[in-house]
């Protein structure tokens, strides 16, 4: 609980029922989509206006109270994990679409607006917002900016950072700032890019201008089965190599297709070692042309079966399994742990082979779904937290996959962010010089260090402490830092 004086100052600037500090009221905020980590905040604040956000930040800044911004709470890396001595600043009530300009193809929205709600509102003009994370029915656009979220269509349409023109926000001092504008660039350093994926460490977002895209007249999906995972991986490279950039290019292994088939009955070929989903969108002529090319490439890559969606119902059915992969796996296993690494596509066969070998070694099943076009892996490790040692083995298995992602030239997080979950892996991904830079960037926006402290960037001391775990090729990372 906050001290009484501070609590009364904060509640004085908020509307009634927008200051929560009773344990039963703050409990829903003790974690985000990563439920492994929980913390009870001192209070939860639900402002409705930018002026209230400014007032909150000024009070907290003056009182040196940590502030954890929160969107819809669907994040998967603990980025919205509360601070025990701080407040959670929820943007949930910033839920209005302020304007849509159909000719300029932009929408001005508040950060608490759900991702899918933007596309629903823009549909009247034949437009939509392209990035579509799997959680799009629930996740908010402010959270998407904070995490630089992706989705199944980002190979062709880009990530959040490619689809946002302007972010308005408040610095921890209460200063209102705008990054970007309605034009296609802005003067000075690209702070708009910097705020994307900044996980609430730099500013509190209050308004966003997003770019809208014309809804393609037609989308069609090809489902291809392979008797070998490596052949499926090679088919992905062959599609790209043929000069095709599909609207979506996804892969699921057999464990994943079997899990989702029981759940959504999409009619997936269950004997296949891997299934590829390749989507084409555009005019009917364009789509027909691309689908023909894709089918040709898939056939010569050794597909054992190719199905082309006949109508929208069937296209959505093909996708239903992919989109429902997480809940489907949740049904077959008491717990699962989703890993989010990105690798160069060429490394896919090697990485899949190692994951399979480690799965046997740890005695933990692993279902693989991934954004194959982007090389973004989501291995889902199945475990039972009630069985002694399984959670620990799961985390060890996951860390090993992430270390492998770094080793093959990839990254420890493609779209879920670092949050608290991957602080340790950050020490393996970056050297101390880069980490020191990140900490300095944080200070350039928030010298007081009060905005979402302890997330996204590990302290150098933390890396030094765990450094011994990541001795690679005999080289000790951060060798020149003091050890504990």
């Amino acid at each position: 609980m906050l001290d009484a004086a501070l609590a009364s100052r904060l509640s004085a600037v908020l509307p009634p029922a927008a200051f929560l500090d009773a344990p039963e009221a703050t409990r829903p905020y003790e974690c985000d989509g990563l439920t492994l980590f929980r913390e009870r905040p001192g209070a939860v604040l639900l402002p409705q206006t930018e002026a209230q956000v400014v007032a909150i930040l000024k009070i907290c800044h003056e009182a040196r109270v940590p502030v954890v911004p929160r969107g819809a709470g669907t994040g998967l890396s603990g980025g919205a994990l509360p601070h025990a001595d701080g407040v959670v600043l929820s943007l949930a009530r910033f839920n209005r679409i302020l304007s849509i300009d159909p000719l300029a193809r932009t929408a001005v929205v508040q950060p608490g607006v759900r991702n899918l709600a933007i596309s629903e509102a823009a549909a009247a003009y034949g437009l939509y917002y392209a990035p579509d994370p799997s959680s799009q029915i629930a996740c908010s656009i402010g959270g998407n900016v904070a995490e630089n979220s992706g989705g199944v269509h980002c190979l062709k349409y880009g990530l959040t950072v490619h689809n946002v023109r302007r972010v308005r926000g408040v610095l921890v001092t209460g200063d209102i700032v705008e990054f970007g504008n309605d034009a296609l660039d802005a003067p000075g350093y690209d702070l708009l890019a910097l705020v994307h994926g900044s996980e609430g460490l730099l500013a509190v977002i209050t308004e966003i201008t997003v770019k809208l895209c014309p809804k393609p007249p037609l989308a069609q999906c090809v489902l291809a089965a392979f008797d070998d995972v490596e052949k499926a991986g090679a088919a992905v490279a062959a599609i790209i190599g043929a000069g095709i950039v599909p609207a979506g290019l996804e892969m699921m292994d057999q464990r994943a297709t079997r899990a989702v088939e029981d759940f959504v009955h999409a009619g997936y070929p269950l004997a296949a070692a891997a299934v590829l989903l390749v989507e084409s969108d555009g005019t009917p002529e364009e789509v027909a042309h691309e689908i023909a090319e894709v089918s040709r490439v898939l056939t010569s890559a050794g597909a054992t079966e190719i199905r082309i969606s006949k109508d929208e119902r069937q296209r959505l059915l093909f996708w239903s399994g992919r989109k429902a992969a997480f809940p489907a796996v949740g049904r077959i296993s008491p717990d699962y742990y989703c890993i989010d690494g990105t690798i160069p596509r060429a490394a896919l066969p090697l990485v899949l082979r190692k994951i399979e070998a480690w799965s046997a070694e740890y005695g933990l099943a692993c279902a693989n779904v991934f954004h194959a076009g982007d090389g973004n892996l989501h291995p889902l490790i199945l475990f039972d937290a009630n069985r002694a040692g399984e959670a620990e083995r799961t985390i060890a298995f996951g860390d090993r996959i992430l270390a492998l992602c770094i080793e093959v030239g990839g990254t420890i997080t493609g779209e879920h962010g670092v949050g608290v979950e991957k602080l340790t892996s950050m020490c393996a991904q970056f050297g101390q010089d880069e980490l020191a830079c990140f900490l300095a960037i944080k200070s350039a926006f928030d010298p007081s260090g009060l905005l979402n402290p302890g997330k996204a960037v590990p302290t150098l001391a933390r890396c030094a402490e765990i450094g011994g775990m990541h001795v690679h090729h005999g080289a000790l990372p951060h060798a020149d830092l003091p050890r504990f």
């Binding site: 300009d101 000719l103 300029a104 193809r105 437009l127 980002c154 190979l155 880009g158 950072v161 490619h162 001092t173 200063d175 700032v177 990054f179 504008n181 034009a183 296609l184 660039d185 802005a186 003067p187 000075g188 350093y189 690209d190 702070l191 890019a193 910097l194 994926g197 014309p214 007249p217 490279a237 190599g241 000069g243 950039v245 555009g282 005019t283 002529e285 364009e286 990105t342 160069p344 060429a346 076009g373 973004n376 990839g410 990254t411 997080t413 493609g414 779209e415 670092v418 892996s425 950050m426 970056f430 010089d433 980490l435 830079c437 990140f438 960037i441 200070s443 350039a444 010298p447 960037v457």
Partner: protein, 362 residues
């Protein structure tokens, strides 16, 4: 060899920082006109050159900063790929490092993305002489702050770029350019409307009553769009778009002879033609306006008009005196300027790298 060059730069930057000697970072020198004048000892980046890695099926090219842009474009073209941001060279010696540091994108930008949209990672030697590696070679990467994009368009004020990884894209199978006779506001309205309807635009240029539109994509899409749009065909379309990108087009060549200053107005795409001050060459479906103005013009007025059109004005080409007097780039609001100063203090506390080139004092 390259490691030696980078190590040499690190030593040199450390020594310069200790002695507070400013350094002027130069590749091919093709964009020396851009930004505020900067003085300093020359640091030539061309010794650090060469394509390090290119795998077309990964859509990724990695090259050292001093690599000639022409070499990269040729290598990509040989594999049927391209840099979708269509960077201007502004001279035969343009280097990759200069392209990224200047952050300038060409006619395809609204549809193909900007430099910053397609840079995946880079290495940079900062003002401490430290070699830093940000981003990577993969399409999706949210580990750490996006310091990669921070370097794009920073004009070398935060560090000397040594290596860049870029996302490449397949060259569209088919291109066609159509011309239309119309007024400026009709051109702005039409190009936005066509974009909203999903027609496969890849460049637009309006000047003196003629709108040229390039269509790119799969053949059926381009053929169908031509049927929808009508218009007349354009001879030598490839060289026409090169003249727009490289600013050798008559609009730029004629203006350059007058001694006027060239303004770049980056604005909301649907902003009306009137109110921005005089005859414009309009690109980017309305989002980019080029404007010649006498050097004596009140810069604040031009900037205010651009701000009213929800954008900003850059004094793109002008004499050193004019650029010093008005600043190349629009002034920033105080809280943003303070962030810029703190970022500069982080990466280059001795202020030796391309001092003043972006903003006086940085």
């Amino acid at each position: 060899m390259t490691a030696d060059v980078v190590a040499e730069w690190q030593d040199r930057i450390r020594a310069a920082a200790a002695a507070r000697t400013p350094l002027a970072i130069v590749g091919g020198g093709t964009k020396a006109f851009y930004g505020n004048p900067t003085a300093g000892e020359l640091l030539d980046t061309r010794a650090c050159a060469g394509i390090v890695d290119y795998e077309p099926t990964e859509l990724v090219l990695v090259a050292r900063a001093g690599t000639p842009l022409a070499e990269i474009e040729q290598r990509l073209a040989d594999a049927g790929q391209m840099l979708a941001f269509e960077p201007p060279h502004f001279g035969p010696g343009a280097t990759l490092g200069g392209v990224v540091a200047a952050g300038l994108s060409g006619p395809r930008r609204p549809w193909g993305g900007a430099v910053r949209d397609l840079v995946l990672g880079l290495s940079v030697v900062d003002g401490h002489g430290t070699l830093l590696r940000f981003g990577g070679r993969v399409m999706k990467n949210v580990a750490g702050f996006d310091a990669t994009r921070l370097m794009v368009g920073a004009l070398g004020t935060l560090g000397v770029i040594t290596e860049v990884a870029l996302k490449c894209l397949p060259v569209p199978r088919c291109d066609a350019t159509r011309a239309f006779e119309c007024g400026a506001d009709a051109a702005i309205q039409m190009t936005n409307d066509w974009s909203a309807r999903g027609l496969p635009l890849s460049a637009t240029c309006y000047w003196r009553g003629t709108l040229a539109v390039r269509l790119s994509g799969a053949e059926p899409a381009v053929v169908q769009a031509m049927r929808t749009l009508g218009g007349t065909s354009v001879d030598n379309a490839t060289s026409f778009w090169a003249s727009v990108r490289e600013q050798t087009h008559d609009f730029f060549a004629d203006g350059a002879r007058t001694g006027d200053a060239l303004w770049r107005l980056s604005v909301g795409a649907t902003s009306p033609h009137a109110g921005l001050g005089g005859e414009q060459l309009i690109e980017w479906g309305g989002a980019l306006r080029w404007l010649w103005q006498p050097s004596s013009i009140d810069a604040a007025t031009v900037r205010q008009r651009a701000a009213q059109a929800h954008g900003h004005a850059t004094l793109f080409r002008g004499s050193d005196a004019v650029r010093v007097a008005h600043g190349t780039f629009a002034p920033l609001p105080a809280p943003l300027h303070a962030i810029h100063e703190r970022l500069k203090a982080t990466f280059d506390p001795a202020r030796i790298l391309n001092r003043d080139r972006l903003y006086a004092g940085l």
